[in-house]
């Protein structure tokens, strides 16, 4: 079995009209055995920038700790919040540093730029950035998520509509994947606030 499918889990990020959303499932397991229903896969960099990590659980935790330190150092030195594009480059180079012994984790980054333009991107496990215009997906149910997002997404969704869209994409995609699901969390980021909601989904 692939090491990327050892713990399971998935993420999706979407662009809306002056807003972005990111959603993850909450399952943590060891191959077929599900262990926890509240594994944290999404982390905030600031109130305008969130990222998530799918893949091997230990690398999700190690990378989140590494990024927390890098961003804290950046903030101390630069005396300002890190921009989404800069953070994406930071993630990319951190991953490529381990080109021949990589972290088994694929991140999704969503945020609002300084002028409130929505920004989303994802990278592979060695840091190749995909600057998407519409949505990004990663994890064990990425293929299901691609299908759901392609069907449901449309440009310029308002925050409330974007929430509904990303939630349905997540809930229905994970229901077709044994290693994902067991709950879901969604963050919707707008220039004024971040709304976090926990979804009620199938717990099987």
């Amino acid at each position: 079995m692939s090491i990327m499918q050892y713990n399971g889990g998935c993420l999706v990020g979407m662009k809306g009209k002056n807003c972005v959303a990111i959603a993850s499932d909450r399952r943590f397991g060891v191959q077929a055995l599900g262990l926890s229903t509240n594994f944290q896969r999404m982390f905030s960099v600031s109130n305008r920038l969130y990222y998530g990590l799918a893949g091997l659980g230990t690398d999700v935790q190690t990378l989140s700790e590494k990024f927390r330190m890098s961003v804290n150092m950046y903030k101390l030195k630069e005396e300002r919040d890190i921009a989404p594009t800069t953070f994406a480059s930071l993630v990319s180079s951190t991953l490529y540093e381990r080109r021949f012994g990589p972290y088994f984790s694929e991140p999704v980054i969503v945020g609002l730029e300084k002028d409130d333009t929505p920004f989303i991107c994802a990278t592979d496990l060695i840091g190749c950035i995909n600057f998407a215009k519409d949505f990004v997906v990663t994890g064990t149910s990425s293929e299901q998520l691609y299908g759901m997002c392609e069907a449901l997404w449309e440009p310029d969704l308002e925050p409330e509509d974007l929430f509904e869209t990303i939630s349905q994409a997540m809930l229905n995609a994970v229901d077709r994947d044994a290693l994902s699901g067991w709950g879901a969390v969604v963050h919707v980021i707008t220039p004024t606030q971040v709304i976090t909601r926990t979804l009620k989904g199938r717990m099987d």
Partner: protein, 193 residues
């Protein structure tokens, strides 16, 4: 064939490890203690590769004690779990990684709030209301899903643990005749039947 089980209750953590020490087909000892007290309110249980389990447990135990000596205050359960995960994660991609699966149970000394952390040999750590390591997981997690509630009393938790032992006795091919059961609460760590 080793087993660790942890259950959080109202204001305590009930932790148990089997006491069998075996190599291949031979049981060498039936009174092995797979736990190490990290400080007054935190207990570490380790199973895994021969040697690694004990070496890692004692390494963590000594460093937690050192922190307490240097800083004059004991570490919280969350801090202990984070430190242990960091040590395991650092060792993971080094020349010789520890192959140890652990449970860390502890309570907040002031409030008695219990915390239980599960971590496998890959250093993925997760706080859980009840947890197991080893083959027991496949049998006992479901039993605890069914019968665990928050705010269990010690007697209720011990009864739940007995259900787990009975399940293993009935359905697990490995023979695990005896377990060492410890309770961590505001008073400290003690062994119970």
């Amino acid at each position: 064939m080793e087993v660790l089980i942890g259950i959080t209750g109202k204001d305590f953590v009930l932790l148990t490890a089997d006491t069998t020490s075996a190599r291949s087909i031979v049981i060498m000892k039936q009174e092995e203690d797979k736990t190490r007290e990290l400080n007054k309110h935190n207990l570490l249980l380790t199973i895994g590769e021969a040697g690694d389990a004990v070496q890692f447990a004692e390494y963590i135990q000594r460093n937690i004690k050192l922190y307490e000596i240097r800083n004059g205050v004991p570490l919280s359960t969350k801090a202990v779990a984070a430190y242990t995960r960091r040590e395991m994660a650092d060792s993971l991609r080094s020349r010789n990684a520890y192959q140890v699966n652990i449970l860390i149970g502890g309570v907040d000394p002031k409030t008695g709030t219990p915390e239980l952390y599960w971590s496998d040999y890959l250093a993925a750590s997760q706080k859980m209301p009840f947890a197991t390591q080893g083959y027991a997981s496949y049998f006992v997690m479901s039993t605890m899903d069914r019968y665990w509630r928050p705010d269990l009393s010690l007697a209720e938790a011990r009864a739940l643990l007995q259900k787990c032992f009975d399940e293993l006795k009935k359905r697990f091919i490995g023979n695990l005749p005896s377990f060492l059961i410890k309770v961590v609460d505001k008073e400290g760590i003690r062994t119970i039947d």
